[in-house]
Each structure stands twice: as C-alpha cells, then as structure tokens.
C-alpha cells in the first residue's frame, strides 16, 4: 500500500497477496484505496447524509459516485465510502470535525483490503464462494452489497464494465486478505 | 412357536424355514382403562413401559405411539453411548445407564450390539487439553473410567487420524467403556420385553388431548379414542412442548433439527467413536461398515426431519480435517431428527404441576445413551410418585432456582 502520510516515520505495509492475471480473470489488490464508513442513527439518517455529503444517499444495495468518492449503501444509516486514500481520509476528518453526536465516521483503510476482479470468469470465480446472485440483471453496474466469501464477510460492488467483461470491487477484512487470495488463486 | 433367541433356536428355525418365530411384540388395540399410560414409543417410552412391568409389577400399561415404535430420534441417532459427564449428578445417571446397557442384551434376550470400542474426545489446543484433563479427573472422581492421552498415543490408537491439521490434535480423552449400539435393536428389544410382560403396545395412535379433573390427569384423548389412567408418563422428545401443552404443562424446551449422515459401507477403517470439539464433528463406523457422522443443530425451530445442506458441508469438512483420506468416500444418506433442547443440556425427569403427569424430556442431542436409565427413572416416578434418587436433580424447578447442570459449560464453552 502506498504511504499516505508523508510525516510518518513508521513505514506502512499491507497484506501481501499476489495478483492473479490469467485469461478471463484478473484479481488485483487495490493499493491506495481509502475505505471508510459513515454511520448515522435515527429515522432522519438519510436527510443527515445529504447534509453531510451534499448528495442524496444511494438507494439500498446501490453505490453512487460523487466527485472522487463513491458512496455505497450498507444498511439503513450506514454507508461505505471509497476513493483515493487521502480524499477519504480528508472526508472522514471533515465529517468528524462537525462534532455531531449522531454520527460516527471511521476510516477503515487499514482494516480492509480491496480487490478488483475483472474478466469473463470473474462471476464464476465469485460464485464459487459467494451466495449472492451476481447475474447481470440481478446485480447491474452500480449494485453493491455485503455478503459472504467462503468463511469471511465481503463487500462487493459492481463497477462499470471493462469492455464486455464485468468488473467487481470486493472488500474483505485485511486479516482475511490472504485467504481471499487463496480462494481466487484456485478459482 | 419360538420365543427365546439363541444360536440354537436359530438353528432349529433354520431347519423349519424360519417359520416358527413369534412376533417380536404384539400390536394391541387400546383398552378403555390402564394402570399407567406411557406416551411415546421411542427408547425412553418403551424402556419406561418395560421397567414399570419389570421393576414395579405394573403390567396393565398402554404404550402409545403416534407412528411406528422407534421411528423418532431413537431410530435416527448416531448411537453414541458414553458416560463421560462432568457433574456428579449427570455422571451418576449416565453411568447407571451405561451399566444397564452393558447387561441389556442378556436382560432383554436381544442382541443390541453394544460395541464398547471406546470413545475419544479430542483436544485441539492447550485450553482444550486442560478441559479434557478436568473432565478426566471429574470422571475418575465419579468412579468412571477415563484415560488422558497425548498426541502420540492418539495417533497410535487411531490410524489415519491427521493430528497436524488446521485444528491440530494435541491429545485425547478416551472412555474405553463407551461405544455405540444398534439403535433399532434397543427400541425393539424393550418392546419385545415389555410386550412379553403384558404391556399393550399401541402404534399409529396419537395423543391429542388430556382428561384432567381436579388438577389431576385422568387419561388421554387419542386418534383411536379415549384411554383412561390416573398415571401418565410422557417421553416424546422433540414433541414434548406440543404434547405437554395439551396437558396445560409448560416446558422450557426448544425443538431443533439435528442432522446425521452415513457413508457407503466400507471395510473396517475406524475402530472407535471420535468427537472433535473444534470441528463439531463426531463419527464412528457401524458394524455394517458405514461411517456414521453427526453434525450440529440448525438453531431455528424445526419440526421437519429434513436434512440441510450447510451442515452437510460442515460435517464433510470436519471429517476430512480428521481423516483426509476419507475425502474420496461418499455420503449415502442424510437425515434429521427433532431434538428437545433445554438450556443446560440436562434432562428433565419427574413430576409436573399436573397431578399424575410425569415427563421425561430435554435430552437434546444426547438421550440415546440414557435410554435404560431414563426409562428406569420415569417408571420409578410413575410407580412411586417420587423422584428416583438418580434423577432428583433433574427436576423442572431448576430453571427457576438457577440450579442448572450445565454440561456444555463443562466442556469449556462459556455460553
């Protein structure tokens, strides 16, 4: 992972998972991707989201882009924010600086590992371990969900296709990155 | 007609074309009144009927079974018999059951094939080994055989076992006298014994209601009419709350489906019963050659005796973790039974708030091994109106006082 903090004396390391590139499937770790979560409680959460993010929240099970960032619905009052690490960190800082007691913004960039999966076999590679229906019409570009990847949880979003082939971003807990890597290596 | 079973009688019947055998038990039609009624023709109900007649001389007994005897959990369990219990109350009770099992083939003149090939509880980490030691000591202090072995001994005793696995095996607790028995034979043997002593075994008869007067039971309503008695015992496992509710008695029981599997039969490849706490898998090999494998409970209420796929996957993974070579063997059949689960996994045996109504339930996933003692103690309660000393701690009050006998906790599971 890239070092996002220039003043850091400590060197940053990330999970060591080899990329997989073969016909029909590529699985690469997305270094430098910032990942954060916004939580707001109460019935007015969506309205508050709009105030804070400046955009209407994504519909359930969808992800929308705004500027450099993507906002994905995770649960009522819960969103995942992804984008360049610095941008995500800045966004979290701004949200936190509001000092509001009804929200919690947490940077999960260190806690999670993201993979980009592309290729005609991407769906099959996922279907080996993930119970979601990832068929194109059930899970179109812009869809996002949390589910399982074998024994661990995953977040998955379908990004814009590359050519004819689908492209997915999946995010797992960083302690399970090696496991996820092993699963895909076999797919 | 041949009634007694022996090699000699088989020989004689062989010459006679096997034509002289008596029915193993007689089917009876319900009579209007009995001295005692036992609801449920599983192992516990049948044993209760047998001991009512045998131990207490009460022979005017109706054993009422909704379907066919032995068709409940008694006919669908993984048949593990052990008394490696932790608390003195449970240890004494299950040891009594095991001792009765040791003599049961002779007692009933019916080969129940109690195969005392031992039972191993595996230790997968330091803490697991400490808990096994704690159990081994408790067992021996309760007068029960127990041996604690290290990894090398386990490996030597159980060929093919993979001790250097994801869940490594550091050692194991063996109860040499534990084992397994032919489940059906236990039901049929007790039925035959009870029937010979005069008990009416009434199949295809469902209890649908109770006759109650002055806070005392007076009989039961069944799909085959009213049957009267002042003493009614119930041993219906997963259906305990359903039946007891008809008597106005509430029980702290949840009914969950427990699954089991058998593989195709193969030549002897596993000589003992094995339980691996880390994978939640237990397995043994039956005399016929199948691997008999148990899984966990689907933790949502179920009265459907259906198998479920996730448990099949987990059990398979557990088997391969222990025996990587078994990966190429094949599952032949998958089924489930409805277990009567109580919070502390200790049975409830004894009287209820309804006079004359006694229960035997709460066996959860482990009541096969208890059948002789469960029947013995329910019969005692029904015949004498008092709790048998061995079952004294198994009353329903414990859920109010908090005096639970939590065996699951004794295996180190803190919740």
């Amino acid at each position: 992972m890239a070092d996002s903090n220039p003043t850091a004396l400590l060197r940053r390391t990330g999970p060591d998972v080899a990329d997989i590139v073969r016909p029909g499937l590529s699985v690469r770790t997305e270094t430098g991707l910032g990942i954060a979560k916004l939580r707001i409680f109460g019935r007015a959460a969506d309205a508050r989201f709009q105030e804070i993010a400046g955009i209407a929240p994504p519909l359930p099970c969808r992800e929308i882009g705004s500027g450099d960032l993507a906002f994905a619905w995770l649960a009522p009052g819960e969103w995942l924010i992804t984008g360049a690490e610095a941008a995500v960190a800045a966004w979290v800082e701004r949200a936190t600086a509001l000092g509001a007691d009804d929200l919690l913004a947490i940077d999960f960039s260190h806690a999670r590992t993201a993979f980009l999966l592309e290729g005609e076999s991407a769906r099959a590679a996922l279907a080996a371990h993930c119970p979601l229906d990832l068929w194109p019409d059930a899970f179109p570009a812009g869809a996002a969900a949390r589910s399982l990847l074998g024994d661990t949880g995953l977040f998955i979003a379908r990004l814009a296709d590359t050519g004819d082939a689908p492209r997915f971003r999946i995010i797992v807990d960083q302690t399970m990155a090696a496991y996820a890597g092993r699963l895909f290596a076999r797919a | 007609m041949t009634r007694h079973y022996s090699a000699l009688s088989l020989l004689r019947e062989g010459l006679n074309g096997q034509r002289g055998w008596q029915p193993a038990w007689e089917d009876a039609d319900p009579k209007p009144r009995y001295d005692a009624i036992v609801i449920g023709g599983g192992g516990h109900g049948l044993a209760t009927a047998y001991y009512l007649a045998k131990n207490h001389g009460i022979t005017k007994v109706a054993l009422i079974e909704r379907g066919w005897i032995g068709g409940g959990n008694t006919g669908r369990n993984t048949t593990i018999i052990r008394s490696n219990y932790f608390f003195p109350e449970t240890a004494a009770f299950f040891e009594f059951a095991l001792k009765l099992y040791e003599g049961l083939s002779h007692e009933l003149n019916y080969n129940i094939m109690f195969s005392q090939r031992g039972m191993w509880m595996l230790g997968h980490d330091r803490h697991g080994m400490e808990m096994l030691r704690r159990s081994a000591n408790a067992m021996r202090l309760n007068g029960i055989d127990a041996e604690l072995h290290d990894e090398a001994a386990v490996r030597a005793e159980i060929p093919g076992l993979n001790t250097a696995a994801r869940f490594p095996i550091l050692g194991g607790l063996n109860q040499p006298r534990a084992g397994s028995a032919r489940h059906d034979a236990v039901a049929w043997g007790y039925a035959r014994g009870a029937s010979a002593l005069g008990v009416d075994i009434i199949q295809n008869c469902e209890v649908q209601g109770f006759l109650i007067e002055d806070g005392h039971v007076r009989g039961v309503e069944t799909s085959r009419g009213t049957i009267r008695s002042e003493t009614v015992g119930m041993a219906v496992a997963g259906h305990s709350t359903v039946v007891a509710e008809k008597a106005g008695v509430r029980l702290p029981i949840n009914s969950y489906a427990l699954q089991a599997f058998v593989s195709e039969p193969v030549k002897p490849c596993l000589d003992t019963v094995l339980l691996s706490p880390a994978t939640g898998t237990y397995l043994s090999q039956s005399d016929k050659g199948e691997l008999v494998i148990g899984a966990g409970l689907d933790l949502y209420l179920s009265y459907a005796q259906r198998g479920n796929l996730p448990w099949m996957e987990r059990a398979a993974a557990g088997v391969i973790e222990l025996f990587p070579a078994f990966s190429r063997m094949r599952f032949l059949r998958q089924w489930a039974g409805i277990c009567d689960v109580v919070h502390d996994s200790t049975p409830i045996i004894g009287a209820t708030d309804l006079g004359g109504f006694y229960v035997n339930c709460g066996w959860g996933t482990g009541g096969f091994k208890a059948i002789p003692a469960g029947g013995w103690c329910l019969a005692h309660a029904m015949a004498t109106g008092t709790s048998h000393p061995l079952a004294a701690a198994f009353g329903i009050e414990r859920f109010k006082t908090g005096a639970l006998i939590d065996e699951a906790s004794a295996s180190g599971i803190a919740h």
Binding site: S147, L148 | V242
Partner: protein
C-alpha cells in the same frame, strides 16, 4: 437451506443469517422486582409451536439488521417478514 427475504437487502441464503429465537419476548424488570418464575419464563420458556411461529433473525453477513419473520416450523414456509419493533397485523398468515 432457507431463502429469507431481508427487508433491506432482499432474498438471501440462510447462511447469511442468524436466528435469534422467538420474537416479541419482553424483558421483565426492574431487576429487583422480578420474581424468579417471571425471570425463568423470560429466559427459558418459549412457545415452541409446531406450525406458525414468529421469530427474529439477524442479517449478520448483510446489513447487520434484526427483523421479524413469521415462519412455519414444519414446512419452513415464510408467511411474512416485518421490521423490528412492529407486530404482525392480526389475521395475516402464520
């Protein structure tokens, strides 16, 4: 393996969920005024019906939300799914 429709995420496989047992069980209190029996009822005594049952489920691997389900314990048919904090209207199935 059941297929349960999360009110937020839609139909998902059983392995994504955890069942939390009977729904609408009230926690008695305050603690110093609850009888042993009332507490035992709360901890241990459940309807455990053969047939229609209302229970709560957690979408652990999905949205992390609890919700209520009306399910038949014999057929596993799901008659209704409804949010936490609501009760099922009388007369609806299960």
């Amino acid at each position: 393996m059941l297929l349960i429709t999360c009110p937020h995420c839609g139909p998902r496989a059983e392995i994504e969920y955890r069942c939390g047992g009977e729904a609408h069980v009230e926690r008695p209190g305050p603690h110093d005024q609850v009888s042993d029996q009332a507490w035992a009822d709360y901890l241990f005594y459940r309807a455990n019906p053969k047939g229609g049952h209302r229970e709560r489920w957690l979408h652990v691997a999905g949205c992390g939300q609890w919700f209520n389900v009306a399910r038949d314990t014999i057929t596993h048919e799901i008659a209704a799914v409804y949010p936490m904090g609501e009760t099922l209207a009388e007369g609806s199935a299960a």
